[in-house]
Symmetry: D2
Subunit: 188 residues, 4 copies
């Protein structure tokens, strides 16, 4: 790295790849997410690795808005039951722990929404609703879809689509920033 | 280690140290825990390191019994408010994140119960109720109280006292094993 | 609960159940754990729910002693490879995420040690070494093995056996309490 | 919500706010991050809530690239020492657990980099290097900086700037996507 030439070029590439996906997305897909979240008794989220962290970021926001949310694997997460919603994310749509959770949730008659980069994957076929994100999967080692490493774009856009969904839910709720504030964790 | 002489001696030492504490404990201290848990709107737990993991084990059980529990730092943890209970554990009673949580909870008029090995510590003095566990603190490098390393005995007994509290709560509840089973996480 | 009759009886029952297991255990089983931990390049641990928390408590201690440890699902956990050790725990020996991890680790030629209450379970049959803990499984709703709820005794004893293993490793190491102290997390 | 008018407008607002920050950022700030990461013996990350999750996403990527990373609060995190780097994020720059970690790290002579939306905050003043993100803080209830809720933009851009930093580190490393792949967690 030549210190004179350090630029924010990569940062712009990343943002522009996400902006492209935002322009391409069918708003109907976001609408389904909004509707299922509003209809659910309780919302569960689950994914491995960075996708899992993106879902946790979204889940925390849904809690701020007053929804009952649980992250699979955290301490206070109870059994999922009929009437609950499970939001899953897997770029490849084949992550075994994610597919296994989908199976178990379907058996309980919970609703399953899957975010995936592969609309033909095992996960996509099992889910009640699939949100297809047109990003590279982790094992797509080419550059045609994204210049980023591995599933980076998928994981980023998983976060963004849920941030967009939150913003819609928030606007609909009519709640102000001040209204939501008292929910924020206050022991850290 | 001579392979011929490998014994379960250390395991017995560990169990006997815990059994000694179990015999010494004032049942009144466990009773307060039982009463505060039953009286609380919601139960929050928080500790650093291994003490934190022991509290998570207990919190999961309280959830199985139907209580609303949150672990500070997990995704769905909201703000603590008046009427809530915060259970803290710190061998030394000086862990800064734990002391800081106690301060914030008290400011919110939540009830604070502290488990500590030092009944004269900052934490002990702040808490509404202190459960004193007569184990070595992490920085007690002697052997008089425990042959175990660092805060080992404190962390183990923090778990045990809460397991005992759970068993009391469960028996009082009149619920059977089958009654509780449907709460167990079913997506793992 | 009659306030006059509150006793530490349940606490004693819990400790005595664990003490019974400690007396019954074949020291050879602990010896294998000690030897595999010493032989491993890196140590991975994985279990669901409370068993997972017990393994985390042990893993933190092994780190204090200088071992390289990773918890499956945490942020910095890399791929497991040949020469690594995976310690799993499942009372029933059938938890799907645990069985799935065992399969993947075996495929990588890592060594798998399973702690389980069912020596005939899927997990027990897959593992290189099985540590059989004679406690009730979660779905054993009887009282003959343990008066405790569900897998309580299994989860407690999973912690204890590893505490015993740690104490052996520590004594063999010749390190003092002061030697280990500098490894303890200092940012909490 | 009128189903006929559901659009991706909010998603575009979110992306455009981030793109604005990406254009504004001084590349020199990213360069410092790149240099400190390369110079550090080990990298520690720590933040509360959603900022913490964003840092975990970045930390996982740095691990893929071969860096030794630890998340404060996770099981295998040892003490921070001189020569280590601590990356912190706090929109307000006043989160008590984050400020407390900064203090402790500085005492150990570790290097501290703070990402914050308030360049005049306690945290900003303590850190060796401050990356100023021109986003609203959580308690800025106005709309002038961001139309999003609370610290949303700050948390998103904390992720993005680190994704950009990763992309720079990766390109410099000369490693291919295939080279990094074997580091990815393989037990989930």
């Amino acid at each position: 790295m030549n210190s004179n030439t350090f630029t924010n070029k990569n940062l712009l590439v990343i943002l522009e790849e996400n902006l492209r996906l935002a322009k391409e997305i069918d708003p109907q897909q976001m609408k389904v997410l909004v509707q299922e979240i509003k209809a659910a008794k309780r919302i569960f989220v689950m994914a491995a690795g960075r996708s899992g962290l993106a879902l946790k970021m979204a889940a925390m926001r849904f809690m701020h808005l007053g929804y009952t949310v649980f992250v699979v694997g955290e301490t206070n997460t109870p059994a999922i039951l009929e009437g609950d919603l499970l939001i899953l994310a897997s770029g490849s749509g084949t992550t075994s722990s994610v597919v296994s959770s989908a199976e178990k949730a379907i058996k309980q008659k919970a609703t399953v929404i899957a975010l995936t980069a592969d609309a033909e994957s095992t996960l996509a076929k099992m889910a009640n609703t699939t949100i297809h994100i047109n990003a590279a999967t982790k094992t797509d080692f080419g550059n045609s879809v994204s210049q980023q490493y591995a599933g980076g774009l998928f994981e980023q856009f998983t976060l963004f689509i849920l941030e967009g969904v939150f913003m819609n839910l928030w606007q609909e709720s009519g709640l102000t920033k001040e209204d939501l504030w008292p929910k924020h964790a206050n022991l850290e």
